[in-house]
């Protein structure tokens, strides 16, 4: 069975949007790929990493998005085609080099994938990164299904190289995480080594050179706009109607299905746009001239709509233009929303099929939870006990990762969550303005990503806080990617393992410790000691809670056929108090009809923390861990 993404030219395979983007990059001849994981972008680089050696190009997980973008930019300066991919908020982290890249341009084709998240399925905001294109003078391309995404990305390398300019491919959750048939093209030879030509007036952005480059950039922008008149995935379907719907990216698919549903196929003109920034004026003008009424359908912000209105104004075309007055600006588009908008635009009545909703069965909510054996659950439990014992009411400055789930009951130990690295960053301000003790809680991947400058600041400006690094030995939230602390690279080679505690020591944190959260009593002692140190000495301290992600180990055990250990409940001792399943909340512990606890031997990972939690000592080892099982942990 060949890997679907490497199937032969001419074959049609069923690919995830992100796999299609990866295939597009392979067909586009990349020699270099770098990224930092983030939903919904992660599988692009994962797919590339899995085939990098076979095809022959370089792939890395970088420390963060800024470094990832810079690395790919550097490779493109040397003439090697490169790609970087990140979630929308990752582009904020990488915004500095992004802006510069438009000034210097590149030599090799350079594609930046921004995977936006309308609907905020796994993000802190809903920003529309097409604005980055307008802001930075970098053209933005979209696609409406995986096949078009593959083709577009493939063509972008040549486009970028021709203009010696970076390009943004903007995906969204629904494109990146939809699967569809993709017709494969040729996998070409590729260039993986380049040359760097010294040219200070191009590569050094000192003011004297930047001023010239800025002028050139604005000129280049209009050239690019003109070139996009010919972009093959922009298309005007003229059915002789006085109504035209302009649909950008994924919205085209919803519009097509909405017209089908409303029996209006081929009765309304459609202008399909995949290049919202810069919007080519010629194709739009043609549509405007043929119409009396326009509806612009696009997800999130009115970017195409604004440009269309501006163009109509400038050209003195008098017609009705609708957009965000009918299409919601907040949240993801879907068929219901687009049908509603189109029906109202066309002035027709539409009655959707009536959903069945009112049924009298009560079901509890199902938020995501810590997995069985999750070391984060143990940490939050221990931390709560330590704080209670010292009668402290700390402010928990939280961060982004699986441990963000600590915001929910029963733990409620994430008082602030804003962005990656924000835990330590925000605590740097609070430390000088509030009286409560501060605990900054940050994951291992997040610590390397953006935590270290904040930590240095805390030492430099003496901001008392306990920094807890929840080191589960992996980037868990985004699906288990290695990072600088894991000793592994994206393509599986072993490398140096960077230790967060040593970094803390090196930058001058005087109190540092590393403990295992499964070792409940010792970990609690350490946390108490560290908290006392911060409160009494008024200095920063750092403790690494080190224990690998149990889901990662459990899956590895499944793969290798290694049996898991488990704990069990002694019926006679269990009083049905519910502490283990209601307040510790391990999904492997289930209440029986009589309220007594039962531990599911299939999913239990034998961490044993619940045995410490049970007030009646009713939980004991059921099956001990085998040697192979213990060896899986690192």
């Amino acid at each position: 069975m060949a890997k679907p993404v490497l199937e032969k030219e001419g074959k049609t395979v069923f690919l995830l949007g992100n796999e299609a983007i990866a295939r597009g990059a392979i067909e586009g001849g990349i020699g270099f790929a770098s990224a930092y994981p983030g939903t919904p972008s992660t599988e692009i680089i994962e797919t590339l990493a899995a085939v990098a050696r076979e095809v022959g190009f370089y792939v890395e997980w970088s420390t963060n998005e800024k470094v990832a973008l810079e690395a790919a930019y550097g490779a493109a300066m040397s003439g090697v085609r490169s790609i970087t991919a990140m979630k929308h908020v990752g582009v904020n982290v990488a915004a500095d080099p992004l802006m510069s890249s438009a000034y210097t341009g590149v030599k090799g084709g350079f594609v930046i994938v921004s995977a936006d998240d309308p609907g905020m399925w796994s993000s802190q905001n809903e920003q529309d990164n097409r604005y980055y294109g307008l802001h930075a003078f970098i053209p933005v391309f979209e696609a409406y299904n995986p096949n078009e995404a593959k083709e577009t990305v493939r063509m972008l390398f040549e486009f970028s190289e021709r203009f010696e300019h970076p390009v943004i491919f903007r995906s969204t959750t629904r494109l990146s995480h939809s699967r569809g048939p993709v017709k494969l093209g040729k996998i070409p030879e590729r260039k993986t080594r380049g040359t760097f030509e010294k040219k200070p007036d191009r590569w050094t952005l000192i003011p004297a050179y930047s001023r010239k480059l800025r002028r050139k950039l604005v000129e280049k922008w209009e050239n690019i706009r003109r070139e996009l008149e010919e972009w093959p995935f922009n298309k005007f379907y003229d059915y002789g109607s006085k109504y035209t719907i302009i649909a950008s990216g994924l919205a085209y698919g919803y519009v097509m299905d909405a017209l089908e549903e409303l029996n209006l196929r081929e009765k309304v003109n459609i202008l399909k746009i995949n290049t919202p920034v810069p919007l080519p004026h010629g194709v739009v003008l043609k549509a405007l001239e043929r119409s009396e009424k326009i509806l612009v359908v696009e997800e999130l912000e009115p970017i195409v709509e604004t440009e269309v209105k501006k163009l109509a104004f400038e050209k003195g075309v008098d017609l009705e233009i609708h957009g965000k007055d009918l299409v919601p600006q907040v949240g993801e588009l879907d068929l219901n929303r687009v049908i509603k908008a189109v029906a109202s635009f066309m002035n027709i009545d539409y009655k959707p099929p009536e959903p069945v909703t009112n049924i009298d069965v009560e079901i509890p909510p199902r938020p995501p939870t810590f997995c069985p054996g999750c070391p984060h659950r143990a940490t939050f439990y221990i931390l709560k006990k330590a704080a209670n014992k010292l009668r402290l009411k700390p402010v928990y400055s939280g961060d982004i990762g699986c441990y963000s789930l600590g915001v929910l009951p029963p733990f409620e130990e994430q008082d602030i969550i804003v962005e990656m690295g924000g835990s330590i960053g925000v605590a740097n301000g609070l430390a000088h303005t509030i009286d409560q003790p501060l605990i900054a809680i940050i994951g291992d991947s997040t610590f390397f990503h953006a935590g270290i400058p904040g930590l240095i600041n805390a030492v430099y400006n003496n901001a008392p806080m306990l920094v807890l690094v929840l080191d589960n030995r992996i980037t868990a939230m985004t699906g288990h990617q290695p990072h600088p602390g894991t000793g592994l690279r994206a393509t599986g080679e072993k490398t140096i393992m960077i230790d967060p505690e040593k970094i803390a020591r090196a930058v001058g944190v005087e109190y540092t410790k590393t403990v295992d959260p499964y070792n409940v009593d010792e970990a609690q002692k350490v946390l108490e000691e560290a908290l006392k140190y911060v409160v009494e000495r008024k200095k920063p301290a750092l403790v690494v809670m080190k224990r690998a992600c149990s889901l990662l180990i459990y899956r590895e055990a499944l793969r290798r056929g290694i049996e898991n250990p488990y704990y069990r409940v002694i019926e006679d001792k269990c009083t049905a108090c519910g502490v283990c399943y209601d307040f510790f909340g391990c999904p492997s512990i289930i209440p029986k009809p009589d309220g007594k606890a039962y531990i599911d031997p299939v999913t239990c990972t034998g961490c044993g923390v619940c045995a410490k939690v049970c007030p009646f000592n009713a939980i004991v080892p059921g099956k001990p861990a085998s040697e192979e099982w213990n060896k899986l942990w690192f």
Partner: protein
């Protein structure tokens, strides 16, 4: 039970359950089968946070779809791998939707969560006039050789209905399973597919 004749270009299926139950795999097999037969297909899934034991919905549209999401009230079939999630996603269902459900609740680990009784829940669904076919996919999968194949049992159940009639056959799904899994998983999954198929066929001929 008599199923009405379908007349539509695109079949909308929602697959619902709990993160970790293998919903994405069902979508992949459906898509692989459609691609084998050269039929249009789009499947939309959820990654990231929700996979940590959260509530999951996978949308599958087969025929001539241009967009990936099933509209509310627009599902022709709902494949419910867990009963609480079946209830949660009822807004996708209309009175003609066929529900193929797993007789099983999975308790979310939220404080004080208690689950309603299985039989009662299924009766209440039927009480709404819905067409419900219930099977015990967990037991069937265990009998097929692995409880993990619960998802494939449910897929077999879907294939046994007339939802994909004229588009995809049981054999197409056999082939798609072989294209989706490594060889050592073929036997168990093909058996799971068949058990689910038989169980639903039996239910259909009962009534």
């Amino acid at each position: 039970m008599v199923l009405e004749v379908r007349d539509m270009r695109t079949v909308n299926i929602v697959i619902v359950g709990v993160g970790g139950q293998g919903l994405i795999t069902i979508g992949r097999i459906l898509g692989n089968a459609a691609v084998l037969r050269n039929i249009g297909v789009l499947v939309s899934e959820v990654h990231g946070l929700a996979q940590r034991g959260g509530s999951v919905i996978v949308h599958a549209r087969i025929g001539d779809p241009h967009s990936p999401l099933v509209p509310l009230g627009g599902a022709h079939a709902l494949l419910g791998l867990e009963l609480a999630e079946t209830i949660r996603y009822l807004p996708y269902v209309n009175k003609n939707t066929l529900l193929i459900v797993n007789r099983r609740f999975i308790r979310p680990s939220v404080p004080k969560a208690r689950m309603p009784p299985v039989e009662d829940t299924i009766n209440k669904l039927r009480g709404k006039g819905l067409k419900v076919i219930d099977i015990n996919a967990f037991d069937l999968a265990s009998r097929a050789g692995s409880p993990v194949a619960e998802n494939i049992v449910m897929l077999g159940g879907l294939v046994a209905t007339n939802i994909l009639e004229g588009m995809l056959s049981l054999d197409d799904f056999r082939e798609a399973i072989k294209n989706t899994f490594p060889p050592r998983w073929h036997e168990v999954n093909l058996r799971a597919l068949q058990y689910g198929y038989n169980a639903v066929k039996e239910k259909l001929s009962d009534k």
